[in-house]
Amino acid sequence: MAAFLQRVLWCLGVAFALSLAAAPARAEGSVAFDIQPRLARVGEPLQATLTVRGIQNPSNPGFPQLDGFDIQGSSQNLSIENGAVSVTFSYTLIPRRTGRFSIGPFTYSIGDKNYDLPAVDLQIVEATAPPPGQGEDVFAVLEPSTTNLYVQQVFDLVLKVYVSTRLRLANIGSLQGMPAQLQLRTGGELNTIRESIDGQIYDVRRIVLRAQPLTSGLFELKEVAAQGEFASSRRRRGPFGDDFIDSFFNAVQTEARSIPIRPLVLNIRPLPESGRPAGFSGAVGQFTFEASCQPLEVAAGDPLNLRVRLAGQGNIANVQPPAFALGDGFKVYEGRLQTENVDASAARGEKVFEQVVIPKSTDVKEIPALSFSYFDPAADAYRTITRGPFPLVVKPGAQAQAAVFAPSGASVTPTAATTLGSDIVYLKPAPRRWSDLRARPWFAHPAFLAAQALPALLTLGTWLVVRRRQALRTDIRRARRLAAPRVARAALTRARTVAGQGDARALHEALWEAMSLYFGNRLNLAPGEVSAERVLAAFGTALSADDAKRLRSLFETGERARFGGPAHANPSELGAHIEDLETLMRLCERIRL
């Protein structure tokens, strides 16, 4: 096992090494240079990065001294992306004066190859920010990707949230105050950039929303706001009162705040009436349409599968397949959506529909052409894609052959089909039973529902009884234990009967039988084994000394009376024996052995 694992690890190591070695050969190798942020204040650190991809052992060129900037330290980071090694050299630049700077261009040379790195433009402004309140700390704008908008058109609406560098925006929530006729879905977030407005520097978060107007008209977005969560610089004290330990707890406070969005008016036009194709069913965007039919050779009455694929970008979520107007030659079944792959923003994807159709006769020669129409907002025009017709070979089916069968010699004369009914079926007679509108259905009646417990209870009860019976049949000790009080009671009843007659010998005989049966069954002893010693030994200390003495006395009295005692005795004395024995049996019954 260990040898196997070693071999597997060795193979994996070789594969990894080969992939690393092969990576530069596969990739051309590239070098990128960037500085972020490109708008900053004097003294604010900037990060310059030189990223070298797909080149083995790149050297750190260092960062040249620049007028107006201090270079403070550098670092190197290695990563592997898709099998290619990527090395990033980072340098921290501290701007020392205001102005616009163009850093670069540079040339990065490795071996005999040179890589040109275009210049990066920076803007450095005064170190002191305008006092709070002079400009807006946070606001947002909505920018549509186009102004040529139609109803049902899916377009991008970029939410740009401007946040002063004094604030830290953690999360952006949903928009409030948007009209319900404008459906919005999230389309992802772009990189954060910086912009300067009136001397104020803003971090600009850009979130792409996919918008879809459901109606036409002017949409005035006046009182729209986004909910933002801002991280506060104050830290909550953690439970340990220690800064180092508290830093492990996310103790940064957040504050919810409404971000006003500047008004925007969207003019959503209705789809043009002119040039609207007959089969247009509301698709707006850019789509492709494919249709196929399998098989193309069938017997009349046999099914064939018509498959339609619609793909593209636009309101694909609402797009329906074209109507299958195949004519009387076909029996058409309910179509169904086979697959649907629509992205989360419902702006692009594909749908595959399948429809089973059955050619009714051999007269059918083709499946008519299928057309799909959509409105292309980029071209301001309707488009129609047509696929087919699909030639079809329909052979006579088994049913059709049976229909032309006729006895030999008889002439087959075709008769015109006649319509048997052209009106509705006549009235029905009065019903014999009426239902009551106000009555509760019988299956919801509580008595019916309660009665449904009976079969389960019956089955459970039967199972328990049968199980107990089977257990007693195999477990003799338990069966005798359970039978002990019952058989003893029967013997005691007999004893009471003879006690009334004053027959002391018969009474002691009956008492002895009761003791023998009870203790014999209770302790699983053979009839001859029942004696005071065995019984007292079995019960041990569970019986008090007094009770043990009474029991022993009963045994001795019984033995004496049975074989040599007086034939008659006082009935009250005999009754006391019975009471004694009953008391002792009840006592023993309560003792667990």
Binding site: Q181, K428, A447, L454
Partner: protein, 250 residues
């Protein structure tokens, strides 16, 4: 055991009155029939409405009122009545024939159901419930018999009854699933829209009498499914098939 079975039978007999069905005077029904024969469709419809208003209903009543509506030319109302009659008597050939005929006359699409939904719709909910309950009782009694007497045939019977019970329960659940999307019959020709707004883009047309299923509802709008297509219509343009409480007088 005999005593136990007798007690159970007595208990079942005691449940019988719950399946209450009343008999009533035939006069209004006959009046409606007479009016129908005389071509007084409105009178016939009114008489049937009176019976419904009194709180009684039967598939025959909806069928006949559907006929009167059909003759009157109100195909939307006729198809609604036929669908109500179908819900009460799903295997009645006359009702099916008239429903098909009315749908064709209205130019409304034929009702399309999946195979499982079509099978579940072959029985009413009462019938599925009865089947499931009978199978369950049979399975319970037969299994108890097998436990007590050990007869193999009782165990096989219990298993068969249990399978039948599961199938009936599946049918009941499927029927419940079908009923969970309430059926509506469009009463006046209308456009299904892409969204629940008056100015929303028209999607497809629904002739009067179209049978659609409601899959969503917001305000006065319902989202409906007709074949493969879905769209929004205003609730006033259609009537719900299973709205028994609103049947009286409609």
């Amino acid at each position: 055991m005999k005593r136990l079975l007798t007690s159970l039978l007595l208990a079942l007999t005691a449940l019988a009155p719950m399946a209450r069905a009343e008999s009533r005077s035939l006069a209004p029904f006959e009046q409606a029939e007479a009016a129908y024969k005389a071509g007084r469709w409105d009178d016939a419809i009114r008489s049937y409405d009176d019976i419904l208003a009194s709180g009684s209903y039967a598939p025959e009543l909806f069928f006949n009122r559907g006929n009167a509506n059909f003759k009157k030319g109100d195909l939307g109302a006729a198809i609604l009545d036929y669908r109500r009659a179908t819900a009460l008597a799903p295997r009645d050939g006359d009702i099916q024939a008239n429903l098909r005929f009315a749908l064709e006359r209205a130019g409304a699409p034929a009702i399309q159901n999946s195979l499982s939904a079509a099978m579940a719709s072959r029985l009413t909910r009462e019938e599925w419930s009865l089947l499931a309950a009978l199978a369950y009782w049979a399975a319970g009694l037969l299994f108890a018999h097998h436990l007590w007497w050990g007869h193999l045939w009782a165990r096989k019977g219990a298993m068969a009854a249990a399978v039948a019970g599961v199938l009936a329960l599946a049918g009941l659940l499927e029927r419940h699933q079908v009923d969970a999307e309430p059926e509506f019959v469009v009463q006046t020709r209308c456009q299904a829209l892409f969204a629940p707004f008056e100015k929303a883009t028209p999607h497809f047309e629904l002739p009067a009498g179209s049978v659609v299923r409601s899959i969503n509802r917001t305000g006065d709008w319902i989202e409906i499914r007709s074949g493969d297509q879905t769209g929004w219509i205003q609730i006033g343009t259609s009537r719900e098939v299973s709205a028994w409480h609103a049947v009286a007088g409609t």
